[in-house]
């Protein structure tokens, strides 16, 4: 640990101002997340007001069943799921970019996205063919469960492929991830070909992502998994900082590089797998959030990881507010919102900071 401290200390003189700035940004993000959360509970297609309901509860009056369902069974689990999924995707992106030392890396690269997609497609297309009793028991959980195992299995497979004699090759993993992604895409294609009209619609909606299916059950299943994975990331921060110097120098600084890779990959697979399973394919967050924060506060992972979680959560909650109100009473898939609003904004930031961009 003493040597790992050295890795942190080496960065400190360069980043003295950045430290203070990163802490200020962290406080600001906590405030933003709080504000967005309250706003989100008060916003929706129906005119149900959070304050009116809280006022009634405070005065000890009864609130209507419909109000209760909207606030506690629709908006609250949706808020929780948005925060979880946003944080999971953003932090996974930050960890992957640090691990691969590649600005393009995101959770999709280790096969989680394609694997989860394949799992979901299997469940949607082949789920109907399951024996009646089995399909009935699994019911609405079939798709998320299949997506999670699809993502997890692909990641573990990729990890085994790229590890020989106890050493994981990041290059093999990067390229293998692309190959496995293409393979999963092809298998998905076969199933898409078999799918009927209604299933195709379901697939399209799944691929665009949505928090509309948020339920307490999903929050309670995916929540602990994501929380556990996110709780592990602060321990990776110093190691990821050292790794920015290269694998050799990081090892010389006393970082257990292989162990750190193992933890990173397990963390990302668990967090992203759970996030994708409950919300479908929400792109973009994993790439944009960490890069945005790097531009503001620099590449120090001690702040980057925490700030990514906060910003990712706030961003997804805000995007979901737009998704569910802009064409109410219908709603947009959230992936459309994150990409149409985030894409141009990110390009603008990039163009303004062309010379500063660095990992």
């Amino acid at each position: 640990m003493a040597v790992a401290d050295l890795a942190g200390a080496r960065l400190r003189p360069v980043a003295g101002d950045r430290d203070r700035r990163a802490r200020r940004v962290m406080l600001a993000l906590i405030a933003v997340l709080g504000a967005v959360s309250v706003l989100s509970l008060g916003t929706g297609a129906s005119g149900t007001s959070l304050w009116a309901a809280l006022g009634k509860l405070a005065r000890g009056e009864e609130i209507g069943l419909r109000e209760e369902v909207i606030l506690f069974d629709i908006r609250l689990p949706r808020l929780a799921m948005g925060a979880m999924v946003g944080a999971a995707l953003a932090v996974s992106g930050a960890v992957m970019q640090g691990l691969f030392r590649n600005p393009l890396a995101d959770p999709g690269l280790v096969g989680v996205g394609a694997g989860a997609g394949l799992g979901a497609i299997c469940a949607i297309v082949l789920g109907a063919a399951l024996p009646f009793a089995l399909g009935d028991t699994l019911g609405q959980y079939l798709v998320p469960v299949a997506a999670f195992f699809g993502g997890w299995a692909t990641t573990i497979l990729l990890y085994r492929l790229s590890t020989s004699r106890g050493r994981t090759s990041v290059a093999v993993m990067l390229l293998g991830g692309i190959a496995l992604g293409a393979l999963a895409g092809a298998l998905s294609g076969i199933l898409i070909y078999m799918a009927d009209d209604a299933q195709l619609r379901d697939l399209t909606f799944w691929g665009l992502g949505s928090l509309a299916g948020a339920t307490w059950d999903k929050v309670l299943v995916a929540g602990p998994l994501i929380a556990l994975a996110l709780a592990a990331t602060p321990f990776l921060a110093r190691a990821l900082n050292a790794l920015a110097l290269g694998e050799g120098p990081a090892a010389h600084l006393g970082i257990a590089v292989q162990r750190m890779k193992n933890i990173s990959i397990l963390t990302v697979a668990a967090a992203t797998g759970a996030a994708v399973a409950v919300s479908g394919g929400i792109g973009f967050v994993g790439i944009v959030v960490p890069h945005l924060l790097r531009l503001i506060t620099g590449p120090d992972h001690r702040y980057l990881l925490v700030n990514s979680a906060l910003l990712g959560a706030a961003l997804l909650i805000a995007a979901d507010m737009i998704a569910r109100t802009v064409i109410a009473p219908a709603e947009l898939p959230i992936g459309i919102v994150t990409a149409t609003l985030g894409g141009p904004f990110f390009l603008w930031i990039l163009l303004r900071n062309r010379s500063l961009l660095d990992l």
Binding site: G44, S46, E68, D73, I74, R201, A212, A214, P329, A330
Partner: protein, 294 residues
């Protein structure tokens, strides 16, 4: 609080008792709702059509995206595609009865709607004569107008029987239903589809066999099937293909249908909805098939 985690034993027991009571009432044929619903949300094009045909159109307060007929419903709020509903969106139109076509979802949304205690009636889906009757009966009962339902069902049945009789022939035409034709690739209807259902009712035979649902078919398969009639949905945008495009298509242009100019277009909801307008659709197809034979 009616959260999913709140599964105390008394709660579960009351729910079970409620369910049991509702089931008994249903089996006994007793009306479940004492007060007739006045704010009805209709999910599914054919469901909306039936509500209107029953003369209950003014009770509708919202619809889904697939409900486009009659044109009066287009001014109603649209809660989105019926398989991808948002729970709060549905609650925001404040319905006191939801008529949902089979397949409405996702299941999470339906669960929330049940938790909010909104009467939810599932309307069975099907592609034959008895299915239309079943839809009308279920909807009329849910709206509390069983007499109007029986009348409409009898009327539609009679019209359909007439239309079917008129379409009977010794040489049933072989009909190819094209769902879409993008970039020259043809998505055709196989067995078990609504398209096959309406073709059969109109006295035709589905030219494509050996697969289920709608799928992309090879040029050779179409050449082998050599349909007498090509049937398509009438709609704007890139799905529709005009006659010139079909004549210019390397395979479709060589079919008997293209040679005789037997290319039929009908509105999608009329053709595939299996609602009160199905006799009308069958008649339209009868005419087209007759022309194709002569």
């Amino acid at each position: 609080m009616a959260t999913g985690s709140d599964l105390s034993i008394p709660f579960v027991l009351t729910r079970l008792l409620h369910g049991l009571a509702a089931a008994l009432a249903f089996l006994a044929g007793a009306p479940v709702a004492a007060e007739p619903a006045q704010r009805v949300l209709s999910l599914g094009g054919a469901v909306t059509e039936i509500v209107h045909a029953l003369g209950q159109g003014e009770r509708l307060i919202a619809r889904d995206t697939t409900s486009s007929y009659p044109s009066a419903v287009e001014v109603l709020p649209d809660v989105g595609y019926f398989r991808a509903l948002s729970p709060e969106g549905v609650l925001s139109v404040d319905p006191d009865l939801i008529l949902a076509t089979e397949g409405s979802g996702p299941p999470e949304t339906m669960a929330v709607l049940r938790a909010a205690d909104i009467p939810l009636v599932m309307i069975p889906e099907g592609h034959d004569m008895s299915a239309i009757r079943a839809k009308i009966t279920v909807i009329a009962d849910a709206l509390g107008v069983p007499d109007a339902g029986a009348e409409l069902a009898a009327q539609v049945d009679a019209a359909l029987v007439r239309a079917i009789a008129a379409g009977r022939s010794d040489t049933p035409p072989r009909v190819l239903f094209i769902l879409s034709m993008q970039g020259g690739r043809i998505m055709a209807a196989g067995s078990g589809t609504a398209a096959e259902g309406i073709i059969t009712l109109a006295g035709g035979v589905n030219a494509m066999e050996g697969f289920e649902g709608y799928t992309q078919v090879s040029d050779e398969a179409i050449l082998m099937a050599d349909p007498d009639v090509i049937l398509m949905m009438e709609r704007s945008g890139d799905h529709a293909a005009d006659d010139a495009q079909i004549a210019a298509h390397p395979v479709l242009g060589r079919t008997r249908a293209a040679g005789a100019g037997a290319i039929v277009r009908q509105p999608g909801l009329l053709l595939l909805g299996f609602g009160p307008r199905t006799p009308e659709a069958v008649e339209a197809l009868n005419d087209a098939f007759r022309k194709a034979r002569s």
